[in-house]
């Protein structure tokens, strides 16, 4: 037997491919995790410095606060700027152009909003006695440059926020892990050697060699992963030591300046070193000592997720190994070679669909279980996971209206209000479309009517014009001051209507626009169906003495049903998802009262930048459409049997 034949029958291809996959995926995972940890530790450092300063200025007056803020920045070159905001006031700032204290400017409203958001988060956490909302905000501006916002207290009361720009880059908080390429290459060579020695029996289902190959694979994979986890843990404890050292140095500096608010003892309630909910991490004591036990517990909690992925990689590798050594891979290759033409023709389209349709769909659903916004999307995915919270917030909020002495105030931001509007929008539009379309079709179907073709072409025009143009045109015609529609009202002595200021009138603008552009479709469909009804049926009915109404009821309507129902089903989905009209005509005015679900989801994503919340919103829309789709197939089936 020659060597090539021998290698072909050995476990070499199987072990080679599966070990390679495991090593590459493992290396990639460790690398990503290393970056995560580095980011996390840089953030931890930035938060520590912000907390330290917030505590140092907690109980001083405005003048002293400004002095301390400037002093601290001068002593620490890594702090790029500091501002403190309290209410509408810019209390302190290290930027010379700010001239604090002063009132916030218009364009600084974002700071005021942020302050309110953090206050609300603190109140939620306190009220519910569970820690649910983050009270620390971190944003990464450039590589290693963070903007940290923490609450700013005076006399134990929330007084505003402290925002610090901190440069954590270039600082040795997390040294790079030693390269594991050597180990990986050695393990790969070992796999190749072992694989070439194991000669598989092609016919037998279970033989020792296959078992051995699996054993070799698992040994190599576990060895590599164990080694990687070990290195990560070491890097982490090293990072912890670096942060402890930084903590001590900073604490001494604060002491020298006379600002220190922490007593240095063995307590692990270190208020400087906290998580995003301002809970002490418990890794570094106030005297700078490190708890090995807490550190190990922290790492094992952190690496649990990692271990799960590594386990999945092992299973994938084992599956690939079995797939190859049992000869399925060879058979699949043969199949691809046999159908090579078909594969070549189909692959580009399938690939495009997978990447740009199916992956985004899955990713959108995954996103809806996180709290991703524009400001935290740089965080690793597992840190953003929040479970079902978004869905609970959307579907569990029944705060639709408030009862006040002046009457009921509707909460237009509520999901159920928007759902109600969407349903009303869909029903009224489809009703109008079908009614108008039906009447016009009946009229145009009149025998002997002249100029049918001209009417038909003109009436079909609204359908032909791009609907975003239609929407903008109607927006112009509803212009409260110069719009044509108000001119007509005034012509007959009526008062002009501020169309977009009232909930109902604003709703009407959308319905009018959509009605205008959707009747031609119904008209054309119904006209087509009417023309296919044989004339003899009407003649026979007339002979039997049926009047117009009876002919309509017993001949026209039943025969239209098979065409009409699918057309209605289709137009319900179109109207439900009619983004352009609402978005461009009224924009959901007033105050978001006329938003439909789909425009609401868009605004949440691209005006509030709450990507995850918008994804959850869209998932709910998808579920509604899915339920409707199932319902619809039932109806369509029912009409088919009719």
């Amino acid at each position: 037997m020659n060597i090539a034949e021998h290698l072909k029958r050995s476990a070499l291809p199987g072990l080679g491919v599966s070990v390679l996959i495991t090593l590459v995926l493992g290396a990639w995972l460790f690398h990503a995790e290393e970056n995560n940890l580095r980011l996390q530790n840089m953030q931890r450092l930035a938060v520590m410095h912000a907390n330290a300063l917030a505590l140092a200025v907690a109980n001083t007056n405005v003048e002293e606060t400004n002095k301390r803020v400037v002093e601290i920045q001068n002593h620490n070159p890594r702090i790029e700027s500091i501002i403190i905001v309290g209410g509408m006031q810019l209390v302190a700032s290290t930027r010379p152009e700010d001239a604090a204290p002063r009132r916030l400017k218009r364009e600084e409203k974002a700071l005021f909003d942020l302050s309110n958001e953090i206050r609300a988060a603190r109140e939620t956490n306190r009220g519910e006695e569970v820690v649910r909302k983050k009270t620390t905000k971190i944003e990464e501006k450039a590589d290693g440059h963070f903007v940290v916002t923490v609450p700013y207290l005076t006399d134990g009361q929330f007084a505003g926020i402290l925002q610090m720009k901190f440069n954590a880059a270039g600082r040795n908080v997390f040294s790079p892990m030693p390269d594991s390429y050597l180990l990986a290459s050695l393990l790969f060579i070992a796999a190749l050697v072992a694989g070439s020695l194991l000669l598989l029996h092609p016919k037998r289902k279970f033989d020792l060699m296959k078992l051995l190959a699996l054993g070799v694979y698992l040994a190599i994979a576990l060895l590599y992963q164990y080694q990687g986890l070990n290195q990560l843990e070491q890097a982490m404890s090293q990072a912890n030591r670096a942060i402890a050292a930084d903590y001590l140095a900073t604490a001494e500096q604060y002491d020298r300046l006379g600002y220190l608010a922490l007593v240095r003892d063995k307590s692990f309630v270190n208020l400087w070193d906290t998580d995003h909910y301002q809970r002490p991490l418990g890794l570094v004591a106030t005297d700078g000592s490190i708890s090995e036990g807490a550190q190990a517990a922290y790492f094992s909690k952190r690496s649990e997720y990692l271990k799960r992925i590594l386990g999945a990689i092992d299973m994938l590798g084992a599956a690939v190994l079995l797939f190859i050594i049992y000869g399925y891979a060879a058979r699949m290759l043969a199949a691809i070679r046999e159908h090579s033409y078909a594969c070549a023709y189909v692959t580009p389209a399938i690939l495009g669909m997978l990447v740009l349709v199916f992956f985004p769909f899955a990713y959108g659903i995954a996103l809806s279980f996180t709290d991703t916004t524009l400001f935290n999307e740089f965080l690793p995915f597992q840190d953003r996971l929040i479970g079902w919270d978004n869905f609970k917030a959307i579907l569990g909020d029944f705060n639709i209206y408030e009862q006040t002495p002046e009457g009921i105030i509707w909460n237009y931001q509520n999901f159920y209000w928007t759902l109600l509007v969407t349903v009303a929008w869909t029903i009224s539009n489809v009703t109008i479309g079908v009614t108008v379309g039906f009447i016009l079709a009946m009229v145009l179907n009149t025998e002997g009517l002249r100029g049918k073709a001209i009417y038909r072409v003109i009436l079909i025009l609204p359908w032909a014009i791009p609907n975003y143009i239609t929407a903008l045109v109607w927006r112009g015609m509803f212009h409260p001051q110069f719009g044509v529609i108000n001119q007509v009202l005034q012509m007959f002595g009526m008062q002009p209507v501020a169309w977009f200021d009232g909930v109902f009138s604003s709703f009407l603008t959308g319905v009018a626009t959509n009605g205008w552009l959707s009747f031609p479709f119904m008209m054309v469909v119904i006209l087509g169906a009417l023309q296919s009804i044989p004339r003899e049926m009407y003649e026979a009915a007339e002979v039997e003495g049926a009047d117009r109404w009876q002919r309509l009821k017993f001949i026209t309507l039943p025969l239209l049903k098979p065409t009409l129902i699918p057309a209605i089903v289709l137009s319900v989905v179109w109207t439900f998802n009619m983004f352009n009209i609402i978005f461009l005509v009224s924009g959901g005015e007033p105050g978001g009262a006329n938003e439909i679900l789909i425009t609401k989801a868009y605004k949440i994503a691209f005006e509030n930048y709450q990507y995850a919340y918008a994804a959850a919103y869209s998932t709910v829309i998808f579920m509604i459409l899915l339920v409707y789709g199932i319902f619809q197939t039932r109806i369509t089936k029912a009409t088919e049997s009719f």
Binding site: A335, Y345, M353, Y363, A605
Partner: protein, 290 residues
């Protein structure tokens, strides 16, 4: 009886004419505005206390002074030419890519029996149910944040082309199925390769269906507004729909430019639509009635 009928028709005509005027009014309004040479949303300047007839004159869709100034201005003073060019490039590239991908895939689905064929067809059908906003955010993250293809033609083109694929594949496959297999068989016997058959025989035979598919892809890209407004942030990269909204959205109100731009953008689409409405309608109803 005949007398009775024609009397009825008078009323019908009256009703129809009224309705037709209502239906066509917005179109005439835009046309009048585009030729009015000014930027206001009103067609004429009304005096302080207008009478009934002055108001009536205000709503008649005829400009006070005829002028092509808006059409000139939209090209010279505004970036509209650039936006139109962007739209044209994106739409043509989408058409080319979409038709290429759809033709190859549809041919394979129509002619070859291979493992995974039914799954693939089903996959295309299912994808039509995904709501736009759910994929919009991930697409934004993938295209703009990861691939950094925001503000480029390619980002928009690949997304448009893939969204158009399922419809095009189903449509083309249906047409390919009607082309008799004998033609291919005899060509195979004559020694032609699969590629030659596809290029030289099948594609020329399927020209009508390919034309419809191409038009569908083109219109998808030409009329698309949401994705374009999300992907194209810088003004120089706007497509025509985003640009038209730029004229009158928010606080700007350049209605004259908007009207002129709308006429330019709509003309080709409306012409194509009126030409092809028969096919479109038969396709829609065939699909739904079944």
């Amino acid at each position: 009886m005949a007398n009775d009928n024609s009397k009825n028709h008078v009323w019908l005509h009256l009703g129809l004419i009224t309705f037709t005027v209502l239906a066509i009014y917005p179109v005439l309004w835009v046309l009048a505005l585009s030729f009015s040479g000014q930027q206001n949303v009103g067609l004429i300047d009304l005096p302080k206390d207008p009478t009934f007839f002055e108001r009536f004159r205000g709503i008649v869709p005829v400009p006070a002074h005829w002028s092509v100034q808006n059409f000139v201005g939209v090209w010279t003073e505004q970036d509209f030419g650039r936006w139109l060019w962007n739209s044209a490039v994106v739409s043509l590239m989408t058409t080319a890519l979409g038709v290429f991908l759809a033709c190859t895939a549809a041919y394979a689905f129509s002619r070859f029996r291979f493992p995974g064929r039914n799954t693939g067809m089903l996959m295309f059908l299912v994808s039509q149910m995904f709501p736009g906003t759910l994929t919009l955010i991930p697409l934004f993250i993938i295209i703009v944040k990861w691939l950094e293809l925001g503000n480029t033609y390619i980002g928009l083109v690949i997304v448009y082309a893939t969204t158009a694929i399922p419809f095009c594949v189903w449509m083309l496959k249906g047409y390919f199925d009607t082309i008799p297999y004998d033609i291919e068989e005899s060509a195979l016997i004559d020694g032609a390769s699969r590629l030659t058959i596809f290029w030289r025989i099948i594609l020329p035979l399927a020209k009508p269906a390919i034309a419809i598919t191409a038009l569908f892809s083109f219109m998808t890209a030409w009329n698309e507004f949401i994705l374009a407004s999300v992907f194209m942030e810088s003004e120089a990269n706007y497509t025509a729909p985003v640009g038209l909204r730029f004229f009158v959205g928010g606080f700007s109100s350049q209605w004259g430019y908007f009207a002129a731009g709308s006429v330019i953008v709509s003309l080709p689409v409306v012409a194509l639509f009126l030409q092809l409405q028969k096919y479109l309608i038969s396709g829609l109803t065939a699909g739904s009635v079944k």
